[in-house]
């Protein structure tokens, strides 16, 4: 793990002198480049291009400062280089959706790197459970933190509508950064209405965890790779006792931490909204088809026996987790679940495996379908005390290589920054080969998080409620399309009111 020792006063002075020399050189080189009419457009630059404007001259700490000034400074007229390296001390507050306990440890290397790059900068980490509400209230009150890190994958629409965060495209282009430095899914994570509202940190790919011993016991030699095989395997893996009690379930799509009812809809090609979040699109064959497909797994069991099995499951986030205990043989879950056994002290069982979620017949590459459960990014709230300082911290945090890899070792998500992803892959796959499945999913050009709209929460909850009604038979099979159409109409009305259309 990379760490930078704290600097004493003399070191800081020496480093300050070096900084002045380097900044001066950069400005001179940039002027020469400008005079020579060099092409300074940001399009051709990669992450290293942030060097002069935002990245530190402290080359030992910043892997991206190796670029020479003439290629590194695309627009020196706008460069805040001098102010960024020679300014009064400033404490920046970083609000994060991770808890204080979890986040403080995980963020430490990233924060140390930035504080070393910018000696005037001190980053104060604050874990916020309710970050979505808190940030909106803080911006409304005119006292936002300097930077936020959160999973806003489903909520960019309301952050944009309320002016809670600001797009960073101007700063991104000015510093010559390139989205080629991130996986395509990372860019999409922070994209809404053709603008980018932050820098991505990580994605949560979803895979099918399987219990190898259970599969072997059921005579299944390979984990399922398509929908029919999954249904077949679920039937074989189901274990019912002589008294009718369900002892082990092969597979069901929504048990545990979050409901994957909506997620399966994405796998079937469904979208909840159109691209700009102005239309609800639930009344489509894909959503109905996905519900009918899911129903087949529940139909394998007596409903009452299944409910009793589900009610007796151990707590999701404990050593009693149902998959860890073997109550469920195949489990649809996000990458962070890999860290569960270590968190609860058991270590990853030998018999675990992970494959991409099975695909429909005829789809050869599972990575063609790569919806993500979510993803984390950094965002600058509206009305921060010093936007340049926030941007310096944000780009420093999001562009670290080793530090982000180290962060993800703790959190269990997959980095979106290519440099960090390569380091993470080299380090983690050797220890836990199952990570490779998730890394491949994140690298997929199709990796995508769900769309955003002003009624995101409402649609998630009401669709889940409809799915449960259908499962229980309160909505008959031949009424499913009508029920989806009714729900769509009702949600569209809510959305129209919010949009004023």
């Amino acid at each position: 793990m990379y760490t930078t020792p704290p600097l004493n006063r003399r070191d800081r002075r020496q480093r300050s002198m070096c900084r002045h020399a380097l900044v001066g050189s950069a400005i001179v080189a940039s002027l020469v480049a400008a005079a020579c009419g060099g092409d300074n457009s940001g399009d051709s630059a990669d992450t290293t291009a942030a060097a002069v404007t935002t990245a530190a001259p402290d080359t030992s700490a910043a892997p991206d400062t190796s670029a020479t000034p003439d290629t590194a400074a695309p627009d020196t007229s706008a460069a805040p280089a001098v102010t960024l390296y020679d300014r009064d001390p400033l404490t920046l507050t970083l609000w994060s959706s991770f808890s204080d306990t979890e986040g403080t440890e995980a963020f430490q290397p990233m924060i140390e790197r930035c504080e070393s790059m910018y000696p005037w900068m001190t980053i104060e980490y604050v874990g916020k459970d309710d970050i979505s509400d808190s940030i909106q209230a803080a911006v409304e009150a005119g006292s936002p933190p300097d930077l936020i890190q959160a999973d806003f994958s489903g909520g960019l629409a309301y952050l944009e509508a309320g002016g809670i965060v600001e797009p960073i495209d101007d700063l991104f282009a000015r510093d010559g950064l390139s989205w080629d430095s991130f996986v395509p899914g990372g860019k999409r994570l922070v994209e809404f209405k053709d603008q980018h509202w932050g820098l991505p940190l990580s994605l949560d790919p979803v895979g099918l965890f399987y219990n190898g011993d259970a599969l072997a016991e059921a005579g299944i030699t390979e984990p399922p790779s398509n929908y029919d095989e999954l249904l077949d395997a679920a039937a074989k893996l189901l274990k019912v006792g002589s008294d009718g009690t369900v002892e082990r379930v092969g597979f069901v799509p929504d048990v545990g931490d979050g409901s994957y009812v909506s997620f399966i809809g994405y796998l079937f090609g469904g979208n909840r909204f159109n691209a700009d979040g102005s239309e609800v699109t639930l009344a489509t064959p894909e959503w109905a088809e996905s519900l009918r497909w899911q129903q087949q797994f529940y139909d394998l069991m007596d409903p009452d026996a299944f409910q009793r099995w589900a009610d007796g499951l151990g707590s999701y986030d404990s050593a009693d987790n149902f998959f860890i205990r073997g109550d469920l043989a195949m489990y649809l879950e996000a990458s962070y679940f890999i860290t569960w056994p270590d968190r609860f002290g058991n270590g990853k069982p030998e018999n675990w495996g992970v494959v991409p979620f099975p695909t429909p017949e005829g789809v050869a590459d599972p990575n063609n379908l790569a919806p993500m459960a979510g993803g984390n990014g950094f965002f600058i709230p509206t009305g921060v005390q010093d936007r340049e300082a926030s941007w310096a911290a944000m780009s420093c945090l999001a562009l670290g290589g080793e530090q982000i890899a180290s962060f993800e070792n703790v959190i269990g998500n997959i980095p979106t920054n290519l440099e960090a992803l390569a380091l993470f892959e080299a380090e983690q796959v050797a220890k836990i080969p199952e990570y490779q499945t998730f890394i491949d999913l994140v690298r997929s050009p199709n990796a995508e998080v769900s769309q955003s709209s002003l009624v995101s929460n409402s649609i998630g909850d009401r669709y889940t409620a409809l799915a449960l009604d259908y499962r229980r038979g309160d909505i008959a099979d031949d009424e499913l399309e009508d029920a989806l159409a009714d729900l769509q109409a009702s949600l569209q009305e809510e959305l129209d009111l919010e949009l004023g259309s």
Binding site: S132, D133, Q136, A137, V139, E140, Y158, A161, G162, G163, I164, D254, D257, G258, S259, D304, Q307, R308, W309, A310, D311, G312, Y316, T382, L454, V455, S456, N457, S458, G460, D461, R462, T464, A465, L468, D469, R472, D474, S490, E493, E494, L497, E498, G500
Partner: protein, 310 residues
């Protein structure tokens, strides 16, 4: 009285009024800033689309119209009404029963009072989690029922049992209501009991004709505050439904745990402040109507003293 004296008195009155106002001003300013202004603001917002960070946009009755068409609102109201009409009377009855048993000075009653009161000190979230542990399949209650060959109900998954489970939790934490009833019971003059005993009244008659009327003001108070509490029910229902499927506020299974307050929180979380404000005002009007009906019918069943005080 001379005009000079009248003027002096007026000045003195004005000074007194100003002094009173000055003394009251910290409270008045606090009330206006922290209570009155937010209330009026939420009333205004209920007629707008309001999101954090943006000015409100007037939509007239748009939010209220959507509310009337919202099928989940009806479900949440039904669930809340169930808890109020079935859960609250059970809670009050048991609290009164326990208070009646423990009001008399007997050896060991102090310990029992403590035992019955302590659960009401446990935060609702903690007691919800405790009940979740007790009632789930494979838990202690299911094990106990199994000893007698009884299959435990699916307390958190069968819509028929989820609300009874919540009511059980509410009944467990009756300490505060019990205390209020006990205060009412010890206040009843012994002479009234002695009088009806002379008339040959038995235990039931004593309770029916002396105890119940005499504690009716207390009953009125606990009913009113209990009702308002139920209309705002959130924490235990939230814990129960999160235990079934964490992360959502759908009040599963089948929305049988979706209370009005839970539904309202969802709209706040979605940043739809205008819609959530309209929900708050619907609940306010509903609570006001219920309270006014109770106040209007109070004279029929609440015992009052001759000066009219309850």
């Amino acid at each position: 009285m001379t005009s000079a004296r009248r003027a002096a008195r007026r000045r003195a009155d004005r000074r007194r009024r100003l002094t009173v106002l000055a003394l009251l001003s910290p409270w008045l300013i606090g009330f206006c800033v922290f209570v009155l202004y937010p209330i009026m603001n939420s009333l205004y917002w209920s007629f707008t689309v309001k999101r954090y960070g943006k000015p409100a946009r007037w939509v007239g009755l748009g939010n209220y119209r959507l509310l009337l068409e919202n099928d989940e609102l009806l479900l949440a109201l039904k669930n809340t009404a169930y808890l109020a009409l079935i859960g609250l009377p059970i809670r009050l009855f048991i609290a009164l029963l326990v208070a009646t048993l423990l009001a008399r000075p007997r050896r060991g009653n102090g310990a029992y009072r403590l035992l019955f009161y302590v659960p009401s000190l446990v935060p609702a979230v903690a007691s919800g989690a405790l009940f979740f542990f007790l009632l789930r399949q494979g838990g202690p209650v299911a094990g106990l029922l199994d000893l007698f060959g009884i299959e435990a109900p699916l307390w958190f998954r069968d819509p028929a049992w989820t609300k009874p489970a919540l009511i059980m939790l509410g009944t467990w934490a009756i300490g505060d209501t019990m205390l209020v009833f006990m205060a009412g019971l010890v206040d009843i003059p012994r002479s009234l009991y002695e009088a009806v005993e002379l008339d040959g009244a038995g235990r039931w008659a004593r309770f029916r004709y002396v105890t119940l009327p005499m504690i009716s003001p207390v009953t009125f108070f606990t009913l009113l505050t209990g009702l308002i509490g139920v209309l705002q029910a959130f924490d235990a229902a939230y814990v129960f439904s999160q235990g079934v499927r964490p992360g959502r506020l759908t009040g599963e299974p089948d929305g049988s745990l979706l209370t009005y307050a839970m539904l309202q929180l969802r709209y706040f979380s979605d940043g739809r402040i205008g819609f959530a404000s309209a929900m708050a005002w619907v609940m306010f009007v509903l609570t006001l109507v219920i309270t006014l009906v109770m106040m209007a019918t109070r004279r029929r069943w609440v015992h009052t003293t001759t000066d009219g005080a309850a």
